[in-house]
Symmetry: D2
Subunit: 334 residues, 4 copies
């Protein structure tokens, strides 16, 4: 299978390395407008052809699939042309800049019967796979809250805010682990650069069941924190991605309430117990993601990180933008 | 000086121990409706008289000052009576249940020329005093964000939500460290006990200057986190209260933006540098708080944790309640 | 039962508090040569009589048992007199200053049919009890190594070195967890105070089976470390006593060797797996120790921390002293 | 400058990558007896020639310098031949298998006026350079102890014990930071693989001044620890190499003793103060080491990690082996 990769920046480099390592794949082209990136490609993958025009890839009939790792505002047009030219498409996260664009692409992909996939790499990590397995088996119980913090002294993006940059990781994990659809959200943020692009922002996602999800994202923290708390009514999970190996801890911890009839009070019972730190699969997530894309094309199956996952992330990002503009007002998620 | 303490629960016990240790103070009475608490008092402070009726304290002309450590909804009436009877008053946090009550008490205390103080114990810790000193000296620069997390598997309170229980600590620190007055806030929360009392809640406080403050409070976390990030435009502070000794770290870290004229982009420069972990004063904060109350009475001075501090906390709690009821809508702080 | 406690310093205070709380016990006397300590006793336990002469306790026929919490060089004479006067004896760790003294006391206690116990408090902690249970059930397998670090910026003792001060904790745990008797040891240390009293010292204990135990003790570390690694051929334990709750972690980790016949090499296979952090009993160890002493007297049973445990600790301390004097030479443990 | 690299295993790969990146260097050959390694070299450095016989490198007159990254028992013969053929030599750590071999090579290198260097990579890390700078400036004072722990579940080596494998890192750091020459050592260890190769071992190094150094090395720990404590009489350093960024902490902590004349006791005063966590140079140490080798050749200067450093490590390893054989007996270091 011949593929072309558009965008040869930091992440594009990782994509080339991982796709080139798959035996079913020939990386025919890599496109980047920065001509000076060619030398790096020659070292990394001498058999791939460097081009500065993405159209060479999009118009080549030998190309089966296109991988798009360019700034998000360019995703839609590249993906549209690729699908129209009957190519399978893998988009970097976030999928596109809005839900209308996402839905247009999805409908086109379904019409053309092509794979349209979004690279939510985190879904392929041993950590997320282990949490998915624990939740699916019912060990955690009904999820009552989900709280994610992703902060560090980060690369301020010039075109998208901190939520569009960092939150897709966490939102895609939320959607992957929890089946219930969110009802609404509130978001707040602040820009310290006077360009209106938020460098610190928070989202709260509300669910009809009483589940609450909270996201804290910042490019402005002196310390790097990558932590997720997931509370079920049976057990609770702490996912600390900074830990080198002990990333997932499962706490046999809970609380139950009952009504005290006389006093009309709610009485809450606590339970704390053992902690279990499962061994995690150490395979490189990006390599598994690349293989899933290729396998979905060859076997005509749905990838783990499919277009629905991509769309759901965009819905939340778009709604969060509207909420921030409206000073934290509740915005429904359709 | 004769004092009476109303409420002999967990915190009341600490108050009795600390006031009894002050040489200027005679703890004449301790009141608690639970008669069975008397034995505990006999052990802790044999010279104090145990009474079940607070009125004995409030009506005794020999009593100079009253310390009130009862459930918050009872604070107002006890304090009102104490002030009317010309006694100085120390209230446990949070001060009272609403701003109208707080203002009434403050006006009465000023009229009567009595000390009215709220026990925001954290202001007396070595950690907060060190942060205050660093900020006052200008070492941190202008504060751009304040982010506090206070979560654990906590005692669900039957009468107040998690914000009224936990956030007074963090809000009082915020107000102590930062002079700018908050403009508005948004708050969200969820109750998992079906009594409408939130066990998980978040507040975002907005300031005209672009400063943002964020509070995350939970009684439902399997892990205990007590962390505050304070970002200035010169340096940043991490206050980790779980650490036994290295609680405060000062990061010589920052970011600056400038406009790239040609590209109309904002360019951001980062700076990371040394970290400084100052030695902290180890004195017990509650003992310093008690001494400040007594000293304020004797010297007719303002305590560190004065009624303004108490009122500001109540304003934010009250506004947060309104915002939660209105699904996260922005609420102005008057 | 009437008991007397000799020595009312830091630890003696804890002992008084815990024995006074036992309903079977009347703390009749507390002895300390420092008259000024009397006021503290009156606050802590008003019913106990303060005396400056231990002989009042040792000669009083109403006293059933004596608790000795004085400097170690005084233990032997107090215990000898107490046993001769038909009293049960609890000695603070380390038991006495040498094995000859220890054996004399043990023989006397057996002749008199009195309980002679040493306060190795750690044996009563939830952590050690959990490790004991795991090892006894065979979950860890055969123990291959035991490595303990106990360092901090500590109170330099004027009369005993850092091993006599700190290592009894770790040696008593070693002896409690592992049945095999040690064969020999090597010890090294250094004194930075020119009084010949080592403030940093190390012991290596050798066993016939190939088990090795290592102890690192220091009063001169800027950081406090309380860590024990116990490696079995099935699983391994890390006991980190600084952690507030997650003190014990059980690693499903191991290595196996087999001979590669052709190459005459040893091939080693590794196994890493899940980690299990058991919930620990939170009861105060000192209170359980006190109760065990009383229960052993009343039921004529052996306490967990019996005189054999005390003697084994003294044997290792004495041998370590000889090894240090002989520049680390191997010393047999009889 | 033409260089040849002998040994293309894990570390050889890193060496090829780093030397190939230096503009003054042409990696002409890479030798490895495992023919199947050739493909890896083609990818990494297509301009280098793969050979299975080291003699091709050692006999080629165009080769200026040889880098030897083979098992330690082969180092001596390769280096001897290289020096005799007038080539500069860089040896992987540990330098050779014994002091006699080391001295022979050193004398030959001096006679031939060639650079003979040992790759103690750690000396080039930002961490070690920062500690060196602090100690040289006198900020730490006179060093009183040095304590290093390097343990993990490691690759059991088939030919050398855990000390020869892991301790060269720590011993080279010790010798680099501290000028005083060690006087003697004691070492103990145990083999759990029945081939007599120790997988757990400890060294204590004694100095005339009262300085003590302690090394704990293990291939059998469930947790990875890389920690060094260095105590001076002014300040103390903790070097925790597991920390991603805050590796070095400088504690303003100390203790001083004075004699209490009356009581003939030593009184010790403690001091704890601020902690300073300096920013460290992030450059890759191996790249700096490679550059130092080339620069030493071109400028005829001494590299940081010179043959004296290599010899001193071998002296301690050899003495530790003798001490282990003699059951921990003190062995003088000549």
């Amino acid at each position: 299978m011949n593929i072309g990769i558009i965008g040869f920046g930091y992440w594009g480099t990782n994509l080339v390395r991982n796709f080139a390592a798959l035996k079913e794949v020939n990386v025919k082209y890599v496109a980047d407008i920065r001509k000076e990136r060619e030398a790096g490609l020659k070292k990394l993958c001498p058999t791939a052809q460097f081009v500065t025009s993405p159209d060479i890839i999009l118009n080549d009939n030998e190309i089966d699939a296109v991988v798009i790792a360019t700034p998000v505002h360019t995703h839609y047009n590249f993906a549209l042309k690729a699908l129209n030219n009957d190519k399978h498409v893998l988009l970097e996260k976030p999928m596109v800049s809005g839900t209308v664009e996402a839905i247009t692409l999805i409908e086109l992909a379904e019409k053309k019967n092509k794979v349209l996939m979004v690279d939510h790499t985190f879904l392929y990590t041993g950590s997320v796979q282990k949490m998915k397995s624990l939740i699916t088996k019912g060990e955690i119980g009904n999820i009552k809250y989900f709280d994610s913090t992703r902060i560090n002294l980060g690369l301020f993006q010039p075109d998208v805010n901190v939520l569009w940059d960092l939150a897709p990781h966490d939102i895609s994990i939320l959607n992957y682990l929890i089946k219930e659809k969110p009802f609404s959200l509130n978001a707040n943020g602040v820009s310290h650069t006077n360009n209106g692009i938020e460098n610190i922002a928070y989202i709260i996602v509300n669910y009809s069941s009483g589940l609450i999800a909270h996201f804290s994202c910042s490019w402005s923290s002196p310390v790097k924190i990558r932590m997720m708390l997931i509370g079920g009514d049976k057990k609770m999970i702490v996912f600390n991605d900074i830990e080198p190996t002990e990333k997932i801890k499962v706490y046999d911890t809970g609380y139950e309430h009952k009504t005290d009839e006389d006093k009309k009070n709610i009485l809450v019972d606590y339970r704390t117990g053992d902690i279990f730190t499962p061994k995690l699969d150490q395979k490189e997530a990006l390599s598994l993601m690349a293989a899933d894309f290729i396998s979905s094309i060859m076997n005509n199956t749905k990838p783990v990180s499919d277009f629905i996952s991509g769309l759901e992330v965009i819905k939340i990002l778009e709604a969060s933008q509207e909420s921030i503009k409206n000073k934290g007002k509740e915005v429904l998620i359709k």
